[in-house]
Each structure stands twice: as C-alpha cells, then as structure tokens.
C-alpha cells in the first residue's frame, strides 16, 4: 500500500482536508434568548465572514448535547449552572471562559393593557392578575423561571401567586402567552420585552431580588483554535456591544 500511495500524496490530502476544515465557519451554540441580537450581528457581518453557524435552544439542551460531543466550537449559556456542568465534565477549553452579557427581569403585560403593578405590594400584583395566570418559564428547571421564582420569593409574592402560575417550557413560550392575551402578566427577561413590541413592561424586578443574570461564553474543549478565538473577540468587541445593548442586554466586560 505504501508503494502505491506515496507519502507526499497523503500529506497533500491531509493538507487539503485541513484547509477545508479551517474554511468552515465556527459553530456557536447559544441560549435561545440571544437569537434576536446574534441574528442581527451575523446579518451585519460583525461576526466574521463567512458568518458562524448559529444554533439556538435552551441552555440545558445545548449543554447536554455538547456533553455528548455535539460539533459546537463555542457555547453561550443563559446561566452559570450549565456552564459549570460542562466545566465539571472537562468539556470546556481551559482559561477560555468569560462573562459576556447580563440581563434584567421584568413584568410584562399585553401592549394595550392599561394596568401598572407595584411589586412592593402583593395586592397590586394580585389585582392586576385577577382570575388570570402569571406566565413564567418552568420555575425549577428553566433559568428564566428560576430567576423569576427567586425574585418573587424575595419580594414575598411567591406564595400569593404560586397557585396562579402558567409555567411554560421556556421564556419565549411564556412571552407568547402574554402576547396572545392568554395571560394578563408574565415574567420575562428585559431583552425579551425589547424584542417583542406587542408587550409592555409594567414593572422591573430590582436586581437585588434575584441572582445576577449572567451569560457566560466559553470555547468547547478541543475547539480552541484561531477561528474560535476570533469569534470570541468579535462577540466581546465594541460593535457587538452596541448591538447587544440595543437588544436590551447589559454588556459585562468593557471592550478594549
């Protein structure tokens, strides 16, 4: 076999293969709440050419897929616990994790509803809810729901509304229930309220009422290459920061 297939040819094939692999754009697995901002960035060409492949889903699903060897180069999680989960399983490239974005928690109502809510008074929230239900993400498993439960508990509202919740599979589904007026109120991220003009913010949860909402970014183990690092730089850059702010996110690290 060695005589029929010379080494130089093998080297050439390997070189070509490497070139092909490097030409393929990196794949970014990102929490679903980042979709409006990342789509806008990719469309504007701010994430490099060719644009990275963007895969959106719940952070938990993405983390479990990466654990099982999904072809992701980078991962942005909507919370620290799923990034910690991957770190504990040695699935992250060492020293390549940083906190990229922050978010806020807000109470929204359908756009044409006229109510306002004072979160310091339980009666105010209950009166606004009436017989309706409060749309939130699943409060024990989905990050947005976990934050919502923390905030409502800290404000001594949880026990009052616990029987009137409509827990949804993710925060966008909770938002949709408010958009469709199926629920008079919902707890979603500040960025969700920015990207959805059919809802109105009626109250903001104080940041002290819940754990800091942080979106960590990391390179997946085995994918720490120049293309991945370039994408990290683009995501943490000035141009991206402006777009993320426009879509309602806080930018954690000031770009150089």
């Amino acid at each position: 076999m060695h005589s029929r297939f010379p080494r130089w040819a093998l080297a050439l094939v390997l070189l070509a293969a490497t070139a092909l692999v490097q030409a393929a754009p990196p794949t970014l697995f990102a929490a679903a709440s980042l979709k409006p901002a990342l789509d806008a960035l990719a469309k504007a060409g701010a994430l490099g050419q060719p644009a990275p492949r963007l895969v959106y889903a719940g952070s938990s699903q993405l983390a479990r897929q990466i654990e099982q060897g999904a072809p992701a180069d980078l991962f942005i999680s909507a919370d620290q616990q799923w990034m910690d989960y991957l770190a504990a399983r040695q699935r992250l490239a060492p020293g390549q994790r940083r906190n990229l974005l922050g978010n806020t928690l807000v109470l929204v109502a359908p756009r044409d509803a006229s109510l306002m809510v004072d979160l310091t008074r339980p009666a105010s929230l209950l009166a606004a809810l009436g017989q309706g239900r409060l749309a939130i993400a699943l409060p024990d498993s989905v990050p947005a729901g976990i934050y919502a439960k923390q905030a409502l508990s800290a404000l001594h509202l949880w026990s009052d509304v616990a029987a009137q919740l409509a827990p949804s599979r993710n925060v966008r589904a909770a938002l949709a229930l408010v958009v469709k007026s199926e629920c008079p109120l919902g707890v979603v991220y500040g960025s969700d309220a920015v990207s959805e003009p059919r809802v109105r913010v009626v109250a903001r949860f104080p940041p002290s009422s819940h754990q800091a909402i942080v979106y960590p970014l990391a390179i997946v183990a085995g994918h720490d290459n120049p293309a991945s690092r370039a994408l990290v730089e683009a995501l943490a850059g000035k141009r991206a920061a402006a777009v993320f702010r426009h879509w309602g996110f806080d930018v954690m690290s000031t770009p150089p």
């Binding site: 498993s141 469709k180 199926e182």
Partner: protein, 233 residues
C-alpha cells in the same frame, strides 16, 4: 411503596392516567363514527377529511398545541364561550385531555377503519334481510366483528395520550395537578443538571404503564379470539 415516588411525581402519574383515560373514552364515539364513515361511505371531499384527520400525526405537536391555544384559549371566541359556560379548557386538565384526544384520534380512526373494511359485508346484508335496522346491524354485527381493531386502536390512543408532551405543554402549560403530566415532569427533570436519576425513574414508570396497556390489549384480543373459536369446538 409511596416513598418510591415523590408526592409531585405521584401527582403527575395520577394526572397522566386520568388525562389519557378520559381522552381515550372521549375519542371513542367520534373515532368509531369517523372510521365507519371513511370505511363505508363515498362522499365529496373524502380525501380532504382523511388528510385533515392525519394532520396531528404530521404536524409538529408544538404546532398542534399552538393551534389549540389559538382556537380554545381564553382569549379566543370559543374560549370565551366555554368560560361563560363554566368549562374553560386552557390551563386545565380538561385542556390536556383535549390535546391528548386530538393527538390520539388519528391512531384510533386508522386502526378501526381497516378493521371495518375487513368485515364481511355479506353478514351485514344477511342481518338486514332478516329485518334488522341499520343501527342494529352496526351494533350487533359490524362493531363486534371489528372489535379487534377497536381494542388495538383504543390501546394505541391511550398510549399516545399518556405520552403526549408537545401539544400539551404548549396549550395548557405545566400547572401541577392540572397539566403537569408525567412527560412534562420528565422534561423538567432533564432540564435540571442533577435531574437524570429522577427522570430515569419516571421513564421506568412510563414504560411500565405502556407495557400494561399493551398487555391489557393483548389479553382482550386473545379472549376475543377464544370466544370466537369456542362455538366451533
């Protein structure tokens, strides 16, 4: 025994059984009528009806759930009427049963229709010439002869209803005791970093229910077969 599952898990299991049972029983009358109609009648728009019936099997369940929310949600005209009548469906276990029924009905109709088509029509004609009314013929001849299809179809519908997830959580959320069914509870556990063990436990429970339903259907089918062979023996 009761320690084996957490109270919330028992609640989810009991709710799933209730939802699946109600959905299956409620699916029988329309399912039998549709299967009979499709097996024995020719009418304008029959292919259209067949396609519409199969839609819940073709569409992503999330879409079916979204359409149910659109049509039966509290903000829809039908939903407002149901609320006025005191039986709203959205965010209730009855809504979960409706979602399960819609997802399970195609399985019942397909299975039962095939069974009706295999019934020897000469037997029906013989009963009719002996003076039996069409209803009598249906109840006394056609349905008993198609009972294997009925049992198999009902078992499939129950299994589908018991495992329904996408349409359910989209239409009626995940409210404990109302719409947090076993599949929804499994989904929640999978979305927790330390939830695998609990999810696996509930998967075993689901498997056991599925096996029992299949086994029950097989026993009924076997008894039916024996009853038929006995007069000849």
């Amino acid at each position: 025994m009761t320690d084996w599952l957490a109270p919330a898990e028992w609640q989810a299991l009991a709710l799933s059984l209730k939802v699946a049972l109600v959905a299956t029983l409620a699916a029988l009358p329309p399912g039998i009528a549709l299967a009979w109609w499709l097996a024995r009648r020719r009418f304008v728009g029959k292919p259209l009806l067949e396609t519409a019936l199969m839609l819940p099997m073709i569409l992503p369940p999330v879409v079916t759930g979204y359409l149910l929310l659109q049509w039966f949600g509290n903000a829809s005209p039908v939903g407002r009427l149901l609320t006025a009548l005191g039986t709203p469906l959205a965010f209730r276990w009855s809504g979960a049963a409706l979602a399960a029924l819609v997802m399970g009905l195609p399985l019942l109709v397909v299975t039962l229709r095939t069974a009706f088509e295999q019934v020897d029509q000469r037997l029906e004609q013989a009963a009719a010439t002996l003076g039996a009314s069409p209803w009598r013929v249906f109840i006394g001849v056609s349905l008993p002869l198609a009972r294997r299809g009925l049992i198999a179809g009902a078992a499939l519908t129950f299994a589908r209803a018991f495992g329904e997830f996408g349409a359910t959580i989209t239409f009626v959320s995940a409210i404990p005791g109302q719409s947090r069914t076993l599949p929804v509870a499994i989904y929640e556990l999978i979305n927790q970093p330390d939830g695998e063990a609990g999810a696996l436990r509930l998967v075993w429970v689901s498997l056991a229910v599925g096996l029992l339903a299949t086994l029950g259907a097989s026993l009924l089918l076997a008894r039916g077969a024996r009853a038929r062979s006995e007069p000849a023996a």
